[in-house]
Symmetry: C2
């Protein structure tokens, strides 16, 4: 990463304006469309009706990852065709929900053309992802491009080399083609910053697309990308996946190579960020994970775990081996904040579908979720204020204190740093306490063997990804339905279940755990959340990515069968 | 772990004296021997000549782990016989080199008797380590016993439960039978504390047994235990293994379960301590690692890596697959401190033996070892001074500032904390720099593929474990030959090569890298190190335990063949 120029640096507003102008110029003029007015909230159908994409391009962009790869491998569709189709749809998506940061059409099409040549000349694909366009959250450095993670202060900092995962995906034959929007500092579950502005939800633009991988969520939901890579520190892959109706995976620490990412809280070695895939099908998640792990990422990233893709684990050898008669545990709430009615209903749908498919369903008893969430925030906040201050003070860029529409006047949300940092010794005491709770939670899980009837502990937990669906902007203020699994380092996947239905999802009064729970309850009104996707989360144990993917497929099939 | 009583706590001298008295009373009177006078430096033959052990007990205690397990499994030797034999020899060893802390004969023999009954009744062994006595460094909590890690302040703190590894080994059929001495704070490469005093080297009692697992090193060297478990944060398994002529393994973070250990710098989540086996044969190391990993320790320790024991990796599938034509790289020195002549000679012996066995040997070029060592110390020292102060201030116990014979008058050694701690943000910056160097080192290793002639990068590095053999007490002041591999999280094994020979190992002047290098050179005099074992270290990459064990077997066989 080239050093920033700290002398003679322009004011942050100038940097942001100049970058935004360059972004605009990077869009081919012929791909500019006339989007619906702001009062049109649901724009999900627009890419197919706007006229920019022809029928074949619509077909290509509606195709799932596995079929795309088959068509590419047999040259039924060229990489240039596929990249062009997704690029056009991505640019349309951007004009609807403002989801992109870096746009580099020529470079992506040149790469696609190389792949086509290779296949034509050799008769072989370059690798298992031959010709597949992949989008990336604005953290994954690509040589020659800027990576601002939403800081105006970092405009003009061009990467000297690719992130390790980018190199691996290129080795696999993929076509990196766009990067996507994030919140300033990344430490928000919504997506807004001073450089690129706000990303909105394609199903209802008055709602957030989530964050911090919110650009990715919105883009994939609009099928502007077949596969996106986000980053998850406390839910940043899963929250936008859930809010945008996608499949998404939060792998365990080190299962995917993280080296070369521009992150937040760099050097924080405790509750670690991880990269994870987001897609419109669970098969996309599987294909991606298997391809990347099969390249042995530990040869190129010192923190990547030396653990092969394990077909036995995918075939659930540690869970009975057949994929039948599994025992799922539903966590109806976390004991802190009760989920809104659509979430409750989705859990009921999942329970019925799984029971119909012959699986057992029990209740999950959460333990110490509040404490886990608090400790995790305290660990992140141990040095975050100093980091943000140093980063933004280079240009005088204001630190954003809310994701709300009226940025200046909204109260600071509860998960912003409240202190000036602590000592290393104090940090160690927090980390020590966290390890103790991780042990308690593991033992708690193991002890469920007595109630499953399978002879095994619960195979997976099914729980909300948030106590609500996509919220109005600035209102997503609770991330512990995802963050606790980061603290425990459990593999977790998001899958879609339904959408908000005002007739089925009326207000449902309940006793409150606390004042915040009451606030969350009072936010609910089915009309406000009209058309929002409702997703759930499936949680396995540490480094159980293969089993989590397989069990998500099983749940997905059960939901489909129950429809 | 029960809380310490902070009110009405006796003075530390009273606590230490009372504990030492209890230790003395725990030794069966009939096992008290008359050890040679202090002027007898080499006491390694004494256990077999002192008359306490009969011929069968001598045979048992001279038997390697694999054969012991066979004899136990077929009931040729009972667990009570084997435990009694090792216990007697351990107690003799203790009277020679002061290596034990907790002694619990009745409990161990009762456990052994249970195992014998089980085998007799069922015809089956309890597990793969049936009847094997195992000794433990004074960090691995055993229910009902104290774990002081050399702090007088912690006398009287009894464990409420076993460390996870203890439970696993019991499940495997092992017999925990003694615990062994450590330095106060654990953060020294020698072994001395205010409670139990100093452990000396069985081959020359004027020399240290190393540390911090120095009690374990001395005990196993005297064959008072067939297998010991130490803990390695910066070399604490490998240094005593090397100084005492043993095989020892430093696994990667999380390969063995660490939960339930009383450690130092608890909550420090960056450069992590790991448990590791120490034995008189490499097969002992293998048997132990395979048995423990096959119990799936990740089900009981949230930090244990979900990675099965991999026979393919043991069979070197990633290293050509045959165990032949490997390429080893010898690191003659680390660019900071030049090793003493016996170490140099042992590297030459290893090179010749490997070449004779048909392997290729190239030179290893160390990069940034000084920086890695410095960063690692800075990370540990970020909060260590505060931890030590809080622990010792409970009773007024003085913090030991040297491992020298005259504790009060020796200068503070260079690796003691020099500061009062840093902030969490400052710690993150150190950790970030360390990750960058880990990446550089991994790339450096990968790039050796161009010089090996095998098509692969170097298969393993062979290097000193320290720039010297066991030093006089208080003189072991350089641990970076081991600590850099902790910082890089590379799996590393110790194996014996030769012993110091005054005719072959005369002084050998050389240019000095720096003043410290000169100091180390000037410490050398072959007479001073008479009879000391000379060991080397074999280093593989992260989570390559299986391959490191196999390659150590290959080197060991080559050395034997060359004798």
């Amino acid at each position: 990463m080239a050093n920033s120029i700290t002398t003679d640096k322009p004011h942050w507003t100038a940097l942001a304006a100049e970058k935004k102008q360059r972004q605009l110029e990077s869009i081919p003029h012929e791909w500019i469309v006339t989007p619906p007015s702001d009062s049109t909230l649901d724009v999900s159908a627009f890419p197919e009706t706007c006229g920019l994409l022809n029928a074949r391009e619509i077909e290509i962009t509606n195709t799932s990852v596995d079929v795309l790869l088959e068509k590419l491998a047999c040259a039924a569709w060229t990489a240039v065709d596929v990249t062009t189709a997704f690029y056009k749809r991505a640019i349309v998506a951007h004009q609807l929900v403002n989801c992109l940061t870096e746009i580099f059409v020529d470079r992506a099409l040149a790469r696609a053309a190389e792949l086509d040549d290779y296949l034509k000349t050799t008769g072989q694909v370059v690798g298992p992802l031959h010709g597949l366009p992949i989008s990336f959250k604005d953290q994954l450095c690509i040589k020659g491009l800027e990576t601002t993670i939403g800081y105006a202060s970092w405009v003009g900092q061009y990467a000297d080399e690719n992130a390790v995962l980018i190199d691996i995906l290129i080795e696999c034959g993929a076509v990196p083609f766009v990067r996507t929007n994030v919140p300033q500092t990344l430490a928000w579950p919504e997506t807004f910053n001073h450089v690129f502005g706000r990303t909105t939800n394609p199903y209802n633009r008055s709602l957030t697309s989530g964050g911090s991988s919110g650009g990715e969520g919105a883009l994939v939901a609009l099928k502007g990308s077949p596969l996106g890579v986000g980053c998850d520190l406390g839910g940043s892959v899963r929250i936008p996946s859930a809010f945008c109706g996608l499949y998404g995976l939060r792998p365990s620490y080190g299962r995917l190579p993280y080296y070369g990412i521009r992150g937040t809280l760099d050097g924080q070695d405790s509750v670690l960020p991880v990269l994870g895939p987001m897609a419109n099908s669970v098969v996309g998640i599987k294909v991606f994970m298997r391809a990347v792990i099969n390249t042995k990422p530990w040869l190129n990233d010192p923190l990547a775990v030396r653990k092969k893709w394990d077909e036995d684990e995918y075939n659930l050898v540690d869970h009975g081996g057949s994929g039948k008669n599994l025992c799922f545990a539903i966590m109806w709430d976390d004991g802190v904040v009760v989920p809104h009615p659509p979430i409750r209903r989705s859990l009921e749908i999942a329970r019925a579908a799984l029971q119909n498919a012959g699986h057992k369903v029990v209740d999950w008893k959460p333990i110490k979720h509040k404490l886990l969430g608090d400790i995790t925030r305290d660990i992140w906040n141990a040095g975050s204020a100093e980091e943000y201050m140093i980063t933004t003070s280079a240009t005088g860029e204001p630190l954003i204190t809310s994701m709300g529409l009226d940025v200046a006047n909204v109260t600071v949300a509860s998960f912003r740093p409240q202190n000036d940092g602590i000592t290393a010794y104090q940090l160690w005491q927090l980390q020590k306490l966290r390890q103790k709770i991780r042990k308690e939670y593991l033992d708690h899980w193991k002890a469920t063997a007595s109630e499953t009837g399978t002879g095994r502990p619960v195979d997976a937990i099914i729980c909300p990804a948030a106590p609500f669906v996509a919220t109005p902007h600035g209102k997503n203020r609770y991330v512990d339905y995802t963050a606790v699994w980061n603290a425990l380092d459990y593999a977790a996947a998001i899958f879609p279940v339904t959408t908000v239905d005002s007739t089925l999802d009326g207000k449902a009064p309940h006793a409150f755990y606390n004042d915040f729970d009451k606030d969350v309850y009072e936010m609910y009104d089915p009309e406000k959340f009209r058309n929002a996707p409702v997703c759930l989360q499936l949680v396995g144990r540490t480094l159980e990515e293969e089993a989590v993917i397989r069990m998500t497929e099983i749940v997905d099939a059960a939901l489909l069968a129950a429809k």
